[in-house]
Symmetry: C2
Subunit: 318 residues, 2 copies
């Protein structure tokens, strides 16, 4: 396989038409320092992207277009990567689920229900975890604390699709020196359409007199090709494909592989995404199905196995 | 003031064109029973709506239109109403902030950071709340437990604007027998536009070949008029108006009061919403401003004061 040198990013409409968001400059030092630490430890590293990306309809944003995603796949996968010795940059949509705390947020049970007040032996009360939840809480907390101690997780957040794309480019370029030890696991639900800044209303779009609202959205540039060719050409790249029609799933996964020339597409159907996914590569297709437990418990080790093979192949081709 | 009898809901396009969502039938028994309990206790009651309302673009929803709202105003106000002796039905967008747990979610600090593992004295570890966070955690937990014990909070969730409108109608009609003891505090950010079911794609809208996406959205019916005239005609109704342009704020609040004939509009500007609001009534305008602390600490007692005056006025006019 031919390797592309890391070349400077060619000018494109999206990255020139849109102003680089402040968040890129704010996060960059933390990202750079996190990566340097991991390189020193010879850890494999994965960028996990997670959650939906919003498309604001106004500059002072009241309304926006969004993509369905609570961020479960990403948050859960991040924990499994860490458990398997990876350092994780978790690039997630603000307020979507986070590794570890996900066990207690977006839940039908409020986490306050896991607590009680008991006599502190000095005439007062103290907060305690109810006995029946203690074990699970302790196990989550242990993993969370270990990830912090070992500095194996960096959480970076975005809101809009523009922020997402700029941060993705920045992180991928920062990770490029890791070569094939870098894995990009792109589980975020990225909008296919956006409203360019020059078409965006400055203020809240007014509704009056029963008027309709007509939105004319432009396609979001296909960034995967750039990732493969320019931003992190030696990294293994895994993208996700969510469909609602079964007949389209495998053809769409194959089409993505063909268009972008990356290594793996994980396909899933909206209503069965928690129980089955398909791993589509150039020369193979493999379903993973679970009836209970977390699908990521099987999926992440499978992806890691493929990343190892990719790294061996890339190193032997140098 | 003329009182409208509770009359049956007139046929309207929205409520006949859209199928009543399952959630209405699922929630109805809990809502009815909660209201009956409060009536027996002679408690004043408020419906607090909170969070954004989504407009799905597909029936198998991958993409949707949304309104900016984390649900802070609603969740915070609900706590203040309960503290002031009200029973609260909290109708909120799924995963938006909830009363009490809001202190620990959507936060820059993960709530797991408030905990630690300590020796349990028997060779193991147990989970404890860190001393520096104990007092605040205990105070939130106390209030949460009291609200549960006194059965003063019912949490109902919705996702789409259609679910929101059907649930609002159902809850308002269930509350109508409370007469002027009922308060409707409509803090949810309701979409002004929606896509009727017959215009909605069944499956995920496909993006290919760099095609644009043109959306033609219809106005959401102005439900406030129905609330005032038909659903809960004796209840005091408070609506919110969020604008991004200062010059539009008061005129838009006045226009809403005039159009719908309800009692109070609370206006706020997107970038100053945490620090100032304006209470606009037929014959008065009053700004509330805070430099620190929660604005709802002043706002909610002000609204309650007006609700009391409204109830006296309504009772004396019978």
């Amino acid at each position: 396989m031919a390797l592309h040198d890391r070349i400077s990013d060619p000018p494109t409409d999206f990255f020139t038409d849109n102003k680089s968001p402040d968040s890129v400059h704010i996060w960059n030092p933390q990202i750079t320092s996190f990566i340097a630490t991991q390189v020193a430890k010879h850890r494999p590293m994965v960028l996990v992207t997670s959650g939906g990306t919003i498309v604001p309809l106004e500059k002072n944003t009241v309304r926006f277009l969004d993509n369905f995603s609570a961020g479960t796949r990403g948050a859960c996968s991040a924990e499994h990567f860490i458990r398997n010795g990876y350092a994780v940059i978790f690039l997630h949509r603000q307020f979507s689920l986070l590794p570890y705390s996900r066990h207690y947020s977006h839940s039908t049970h409020c986490f306050l229900d896991f607590m009680d007040l008991e006599d502190d032996g000095a005439g007062g009360l103290r907060t305690v975890i109810l006995a029946q939840y203690e074990e699970e809480m302790r196990s989550v907390l242990k993993e969370y604390k270990r990830a912090k101690q070992e500095n194996s997780l960096l959480v970076v957040s975005f809101i809009t699709v523009t922020e997402y794309l700029f941060l993705l480019r920045d992180i991928a370029q920062c990770m490029a020196p890791l070569g094939s030890n870098a894995l990009l696991y792109l589980a975020a639900a990225v909008s296919d359409f956006h409203l360019p800044p020059d078409k965006m209303s400055l203020h809240k779009i007014q509704s009056h007199g029963g008027r309709r609202l007509v939105l004319d959205l432009e396609p979001v540039p296909k960034f995967l090709r750039k990732l493969v060719e320019h931003w992190a050409p030696q990294a293994m790249i895994v993208s996700f494909k969510l469909e609602t029609e079964e007949r389209l799933l495998i053809p769409k996964c194959r089409a993505a592989l063909k268009s972008y020339g990356h290594q793996l597409v994980i396909g899933n159907l909206l209503d069965r995404r928690k129980y089955e996914v398909i791993l589509v590569q150039q020369d193979s297709e493999r379903w993973i199905r679970v009836s209970d437990g977390e699908l990521e418990d099987i999926l992440v080790p499978e992806v890691i196995e493929r990343h190892k093979r990719w790294a061996v192949k890339m190193k032997s081709s140098i």
